[in-house]
Amino acid sequence: MTAEKQTIREIPLGDLERSVRELHGDGYRLVQIGCTAIEEAYEINYSFDKDFTFLNLRVTVTPETEVPSISGIYWGAFIYENEMHDLFGIPVTGMNIDFHGAMIRTAQKQPFSVTRKGEGPCRNA
């Protein structure tokens, strides 16, 4: 088994935009943005790759924390940010395309968040 070396760098939310901008400047491509519910908070992984060097920026936020969009740096990030908002209810500010909770058109009321289940509609909605 050839296990790929992967780096996870935990950063404060305030450093997110600067760190992403640096990676963009270094020629990294955005692979994905994914969210994980952990007890009363969320971990958000921003994954990047350059020449098969896989790097993750990880921020941990509480449910009500507004997360700045990185779609001004990586245009395609809107797809992951809207998904993160629709599935977990995380308010993302400044997205270049904001679906206001309607990108995933399920009959089930969103978000599907574990920790916010039963609470009111998410902030972007």
Partner: protein, 359 residues
């Protein structure tokens, strides 16, 4: 100034086998903006990981999609094996490669048929699907399943392919390769096909990279990124070079897929000829405790299975980033400027798999 109107495209449309919706903003017949939306068949499969044992979830992973089923299973078990530090036997790595490339072959032939159908070239559609049948026969013969193979497991594979059957596959590949050449010749050299595809839905090299495109959508714009170069399964032992094209249009994306038919045939041939003898699985004990982003090159591009365990038999998170999700932003950039009549062909050129996207 022409009046702007919004034309809904999908979720039901003759060119779409699965539901996705696009709001097309038009000025006369020209597309000026596109807003995509998904979720018509959202299944919440990721959440099932907390309810199924980690050894069983491979069956769920394989059912994310009926086309790249095997590779979803592979990406998942590979993630678990990395977290648990399981060394998979060499023979299993080679078998995984053979089934992966068979999956890619039948997926590309399926797409080529659908693409021909979208262009109105019905005989080419039927020819592509006729060829696909012989790959499905190999899959059925070696795994018992045409759609879901069910051969991947944590620690190896469930079934072996004997020498005799491997030789049968090698013999089948000889006429099959020639038939693929004949088919590819029409896709790449027929004037009516070229006129329909060239210069349509262009994404430049820089845009494709910056927008996070994956697979043939990325390589069709000249970016030689292919997750098989990570060397997972047996790819590290085999001679392999990604297929790229530079034009970034529908024709280039089609040409990449045609080229990849021959790469897959070559990889199957190499793997079948050099597969080592030995066991096909190892016993796995314990439970996964850790996290890993498992990456595999599916027919539509790189898939990422993020897997996280806490030392119990249930994982705490499985997040699957499918290639179609990554190719939606490039699609939004491809469409503005095209004519309404070109939309079906351009949408199909990214080979959208909504089943994967609605995991």
């Amino acid at each position: 100034m022409p009046e702007r109107i919004v034309v809904p495209f999908g979720p039901q449309h003759p060119v779409l086998p699965e539901p996705i919706h696009l709001d097309l903003v038009l000025e006369d017949e020209t597309v000026v903006d596109v807003i995509p939306s998904i979720g018509y068949v959202h299944r919440g499969l990721e959440q099932l990981v907390t309810k199924r044992e980690y050894t069983d979830f491979v069956h769920v992973a394989e059912r994310i999609c009926g086309i790249c089923s095997f590779m979803h299973g592979l990406a998942y078990v590979q993630g678990i094996e990395t977290i648990m530090d399981v060394e998979v036997p060499d023979r299993a790595r080679y078998l995984r490669t053979i089934w992966s490339e068979c999956s890619r072959l039948h997926s590309h032939l399926l797409w080529l048929g659908l693409f021909a159908d979208a262009m109105g070239f019905e005989s080419l559609f039927m020819q592509s699907w006729r060829l696909r049948e012989s790959v499905l026969d190999v899959l059925e013969d070696t795994s018992g399943g045409r759609v879901i193979q069910g051969t991947c497991k944590v620690g190896g594979v469930r079934r072996d392919i004997g020498r005799e059957k491997l030789d049968d596959i090698l013999r089948t590949l000889v006429p099959f390769e020639q038939q693929c050449r004949n088919l590819g010749d029409v896709f790449l050299n027929d004037e009516s096909v070229k006129n329909r595809l060239q210069g349509l839905g262009i994404v430049t090299k820089g845009e494709a990279y910056d927008l996070g495109a994956a697979g043939p959508t990325l390589r069709g714009s000249g970016v030689p990124i292919d997750a098989r170069n990570l060397g997972y399964a047996a790819y590290g032992d085999l001679d392999f070079k990604p297929v790229t094209e530079s034009a970034g249009d529908c024709y280039a994306r089609c040409a990449v897929r045609v080229g990849e038919l021959f790469t897959s045939i070559d990889l199957i041939r190499q793997a079948a000829e050099t597969i080592p003898e030995g066991p096909i699985e190892v016993k796995v004990t314990g439970t996964p405790d850790g996290e890993y982003f498992s990456r595999v090159e599916q027919p539509r591009g790189e898939v990422v299975h993020y897997i996280r365990g806490n030392g119990t038999k249930h994982l705490t998170r499985a997040r699957i980033r499918t290639p179609t999700l990554a190719n939606l932003p490039p699609l939004v950039k491809m469409l503005p400027g095209c004519q309404l009549a070109d939309v079906p062909v351009i949408v199909l050129s990214i080979d959208p798999c909504i089943s994967c996207t609605e995991r």
